[in-house]
């Protein structure tokens, strides 16, 4: 289809095809005791085409990863070329519907960064950068959207969902081993429905989802025969159903947003510490635009575990032989702050920070960019993970880095 459609579009008088993309070079240095430098060049090509009733888009990244440079020896590893399909989809369009098939991003939700109803597109926490394609993974999906004026119905089916990409290496030690991931459903798929509408200044949606819980639970097995005994942690991805919604409304320079979802996991009784508890996850906040150049956002997040008995969890973990059993917190609060400032499309500052209040872990991404010319941007920033050991972000603090980038768009 992707090969044929461009040919058809080229031949069709009503068709239109475009090629765009960017080329960029990025260098980043890790902020740790063992600093490394990662240099990456990327060429992204975005081919899109459209005719009266059909469209297609194919976005491909060609990454040349120079890998880590050993500063002390000024040596470098071999170049690794990697072709990464970012998006490849075709679309059929009617007067009141769109149908998209292929690899595509599906984003639901209205709040910033944390979206409880955004359940189709997994996160890549390992290769995170300021580019979307680096921290979100477009799934292969079929998406049907029906439009009734300012209301819409969105039906999505992902036949082969993938979980979030996470780095479990920090969990490994001499006595803890992380195994290969396991999926509780033999043929998992994601299916979701979103009804969105505008009324009286409000934008609101209702969402229903059934599919893979992309966040792992961990099943545990003690290998008592080993010396010392080794705890085998196996990331386990179970199924989940979710119901939720979002709403927003503008009031002068303020934009109020809220989003919430109830997750129903496989731990129906709430007594299995190896499976994620059902959860109510909510975000609410506001964005303030006091002037032409400044845009600030503050959001609170709240996660509340349902059917949760910490004592039962601890007892179960002890029974399994966990040497350091610990139970999750019933409620987890967080803050998300975002700020962007720009001056005449030339200089802009963007920053986002996420902090979980109970464990004090935090994540921050900020960068300053300068638009040297149309299409040419120079950017410098930092990606920070921090917090006490054992906290969500504290365990991956060594992934913090600073980066610089030069990008040309065409």
């Amino acid at each position: 289809m992707l090969a044929g459609l461009p040919m058809a579009l080229l031949a069709s008088p009503a068709g239109a095809m475009q090629l765009h993309g960017y080329a960029k070079a990025t260098a980043s240095a890790q902020l740790s005791d063992e600093p490394w430098v990662d240099a990456t060049s990327r060429l992204q090509a975005d081919l899109s085409g459209k005719t009266r009733g059909a469209s297609f888009r194919a976005t491909v990244d060609l990454d040349m990863d120079a890998g880590a440079l050993d500063m002390s020896q000024l040596s470098r590893r071999e170049l690794e070329l990697e072709l990464i399909p970012v998006e490849c989809r075709v679309g059929a369009h009617g007067s009141w519907f769109d149908l998209f098939l292929g690899k595509q991003y599906v984003f639901w939700g209205q709040t910033d960064w944390i979206n409880p109803t955004d359940l189709f597109t997994p996160w890549d926490y390992v290769h995170m950068s300021n580019e979307l394609e680096d921290y979100r993974i477009a799934p292969w999906a079929a998406r049907f959207q029906a439009f009734f004026g300012q209301a819409s119905l969105d039906l999505v089916w992902v036949p082969y969902p993938v979980p979030d990409v996470m780095d479990f290496s920090s969990m490994e030690s001499d006595t803890v081993h992380v195994g290969d991931p396991v999926f509780t459903r033999e043929h998992p798929f994601d299916l979701g429905l979103r009804l969105n509408g505008r009324f009286a200044g409000f934008d609101a949606s209702l969402v229903a989802f059934s599919g893979m819980d992309k966040r792992p639970g961990f099943s545990m097995e003690m290998d008592l025969e080993a010396t010392p005994p080794i705890l085998e942690l196996v990331p386990t991805y179970g199924s989940m159903q979710a119901v939720g919604g979002d709403i927003s409304r503008g009031l002068g320079p303020l934009l109020l947003k809220a989003e919430s979802a109830w997750y129903r996991t496989e731990d129906l009784q709430g007594d299995d510490p190896q499976v994620r508890n059902p959860e109510l996850y909510s975000v609410a906040g506001l964005t303030w635009v006091p002037g032409n150049h400044l845009n600030m956002s503050l959001q609170g997040t709240w996660s509340h575990l349902l059917l949760f008995d910490p004592q039962a969890d601890l007892a179960a973990l002890e029974a399994m032989g966990d040497p350091e059993p610990s139970a999750d917190a019933l409620d987890t609060w967080g803050l998300v702050e975002r700020l962007s400032w720009s001056w005449r499309d030339t200089v802009s500052l963007s920053a986002v920070a996420l902090q979980y209040l109970p464990d004090q872990g935090f994540f921050g991404l900020g960068y300053l960019s300068w638009r040297a010319a149309d299409g040419l941007t120079v950017l410098g920033g930092a990606l920070l993970f921090g917090g006490p050991r054992g906290s969500t972000f504290g365990d991956i603090s060594e992934l913090s880095r600073v980066f610089g980038e030069i990008k040309y768009s065409f």
Binding site: H20, Y22, K50, S55, H93, S95, W96, D98, Y105, F107, Q110, E131, L132, Q145, F147, F148, G149, Q150, A151, S152, R198, F199, A200, G201, D203, S248, G250, L251, G252, P253, L254, L255, K257, T287, V289, P290, G291, N292, S342, R344, D345, T346, D374, G375, T377, K407, S409, F410
Partner: protein, 1058 residues
Amino acid sequence: MKWLTDASIRHPRLTLLLVLLSTVAMALGIHRLEVDPDVLRDLPDDLPAKALYDRVGDMFPSKEMLFIGVRAGDLRSPEALRQIQQLTRALERLPVVQQVLSPTNATVVVGTAQGMEIRDAADPFPTTPSEAGAFWDFLQEQENLSGMVVSQDGSVAAILVFLQARLQGTESEAAGEVLQVVEREGGDLELFPAGRPVVTYYSSKTIGKETGMLTSAALVLMIVLLGLLFFNLRGVFLPVGVVVGAVLWTMGGMGWVDLAMTHSTEALPILLIAIGVADGVHIVQAFVSRARATGRKLESVRATMDDLRRPVIMTSVTSAVGFLALNTSGVRSIMILGMLTSFGIMVALLFSLSFVPATLCLLPLPRSARKAGQGSARASLGRLQRLMVAWGDLLLKHRLAASLLLLALVALSITGATRTQVETSILANFPDDDPISISSAFIDQHFSGVTNLQVVFEAHEPDALKDPAFLQGIQDFETFARGLDGVGGTSSVLPMLRAMNRVLHQGDPAWDRLPGEQETEQGFDYELDENGNELALPVERQVSGRQVLSGYFSLLEMSGKPGDLANFVTDDYSSAKVTLFLTSDRKKVLDRVVSQVRDYLANHDTGASVEITGMAALMLAVNDLITQGQALSILVSLSLVFLVTALMFRSAVLGLCNVVPLFVALFFNFGVMGLAGLDINLMTMGVSSMAIGVGVDFAIHFVHRYRVAFAQAGNPRDALRNTMAESGVAIIMNMVAVAGGFLTLLLATFKGVVTMGLLISLIMAFSAIGALTILPLVFVGLRPRAIEGGTGRGPGAPGRALLLLLALPLLAPSPAMAQEADGRAVMEAIENRSSFHDMVGRLTLTLTSSNGGTKERVLKMASQENHEGETDMILYMESPADMRGNAFLLLGHADRDDERYVYIPALHRSNKIVGSGRKGAFMSSDFTYDDIGMPDLDEWTWTITGEQELDGHPCQVIEARAASDKVIRETGYTRVTWYIDRDLQTSRGADYYDKQDILTKKLRVNQVREISGVPFATDMSMVDLGTGHSSRMVMSELRVNQGVEGTWFTNRALQNGF
């Protein structure tokens, strides 16, 4: 409600889906609907007649009875008697039956050798023809049974079934059970069930069925008539859809909240059809007219709804309020009718504002709008318009004659109205050949009568009935009552007592009376003679009548059946009931008998308090309640209609104008009824209320249309012609369709339904006449200020000249005033010239920094004026490459903040954003959002300050000063100096002064082109004097007022492009 119409036009499919789903959900309640014809349930508990009726029901075990006339091939055969006995026993077994009185089980007093026996009449049961014959002869001789269970001529018999006073279900249901037994156990007997419970039972079945069938027929005929009038499906489907929806919602809603259908609410579908169809007809007719004129569907729908939304809401609210006034009637079912009708009207309003415009948006243009000037529909509507215009012209020409004629008709109507009769007889509604009419006539002919009144004598002390004087008083009354015209017979305990008195005195007719105060009883004293033999010596003893009566009552208690006494006297013998059987249930008969009885009782002291009760008496009281209540509720309705319409039109005069046609319609209605001898009853009473709902609809539409037309035309003649052509046509179409449709009710067998059909048609016609005759005469004759405003009646020519002369110094304008007025006028002229509905084009925005560096942005943009009169805009970045695909959507709102959305391709999502307001920078340029549009003239004061040449163009200089601090705050400017090209009459530039009144920015228009007749500034530059930055905006590939797709201004278009 504007948002509802607008939303329906924007989302027609969703609207129809929601309407369908909700209607189906409501309609599911219909299967739960039950019928309750029992009038008694509706009566307020504090109604004295009802309280009395209930109290008497507690005193005596039965309140109502059925008559079952019996005719057999050979009544005097044992076989016939056996069948009567079998039927009697079957009836006695029914739980709803308190007592059965039939030839075979009636209690009789007979003399015996030992004295007296109280036994069943058919004991021993006759087994031979001669015994049977003797039996019937014997029955005829019994005063208390002749005329009750056997006719006086002995040819037919009757069974009286006394229903329990306290029934679990309704009286009608009890009657139904009795009738089932009658049908099952009747054998070969020819039976004639009659009595009020039977009438109620059959009327609930008949009326409901007939009304339902004929209302459906009326609807079908209405559909045909609408089709003939409109000659297209939308003219049929839409008004009918509205009323069907309203009926389904209302009836279904009744089912869901367990409200039963009563005799009053049975008129509900009819009311809703008649009232609810109007708005749909008006809307469709106006839409078709507009579509023919413009050829544009959406525009026509919007314009029609914008024009008619207000009158449609007004008519519905006013009608609903008018019907709510029925709450003053005092009768529950009529109060509920009022509330349900109000609800149904509001549902019809909802449908008119959502379903109708949504459907019009989806249906294609009428053929006549696509093919201009062709088609028979256009010709027929044209003819109708010409007819209505001619009618208006005729009224104008012969105003005096028309007014006099109208007054004469009103006078005649008043005469007729005074002759209207109220009739409570439900039986009168049945045709003469209906079985219930035949049965009732049978009973009335052969027996004492089907209808009964109960007269209760209460002495308030136990054993009062054992007082001979008290009983004699009752006897005297009964004798009087039997002699009244209309009274076929009476029934009480007295015949039984007289029979006992006679029998105990060897049947001597002289003793066929009640015992007196003292009675001389013959007795014997026993003595022994000298031989020791017992000698019986006759003696006379004086015995008190009370003692005698006590003895008689004791004998009846011991020997008779419990029902023998219980239905006549209370257990403590303090009260007695006398039943009067009437030969007719007509109100005038009831009124006369009751009046005569009251007169008698007022003039004869019986030593007790006497009350008249029974269902007939109760119906009289109900009738009074309804009549007074209806009069009050109509008055309240009219007052409320006046208040509401006066408020809506902001004029008491126009409020009166809306009410006057209603008065006339009501007068005509009652006048015709009186002159034609049509009775007012419970059914027709509810329909009279319809006059309010229909009449006010016609009046409001007419008044609204006339006001608008006068504002445009400026003179009454043209205004009337326009109104007649528009609203007049719609009123006539509505009237013809509904009146014609309901003429099908004339086919009913139930007279009440026939009357109802006639009345509805008459009301529709009179209401239309009222609106189309009275209102034109009022508006043209009186020239009310409320219509004509300041141009209404004023002083004549000499007066005007004098005023001008006197006022001239005052009126002379100051130079400043003149210039301010002129400045605004200039800007208004520019605004009018340069306003446009929609545009599409390409915008090249060049941003130049203070050091000369430039950046170029190319955007595709589209804008349109939305239904709120605000601007929707979408921008799509085409270059530079790193911003390509960024899109911005603005949805303007008049009554709240504008909504903004942005789509960033890199983020693959559209987000709602807020802006920094009007003074926010447009696309990071030196233009603000406020700068790129036309200023709001009301926010500034405009003064012409002089002339100046700008870039070689002679310009008029107009200074605009912010009218308030709010404007300064929101725009950032204290004042703006505009340079208006004298030749092109368009802006050539502007100088902007900030909050400190310092010149901050300069706008210069480099090029003006006329596109589709609209002058467009296609090349503009803005210089920020503070920063040295400048921006240039060049428009190309412009299309103005060529139409844009509504789907361009959606989130979908943000992501997919347009």
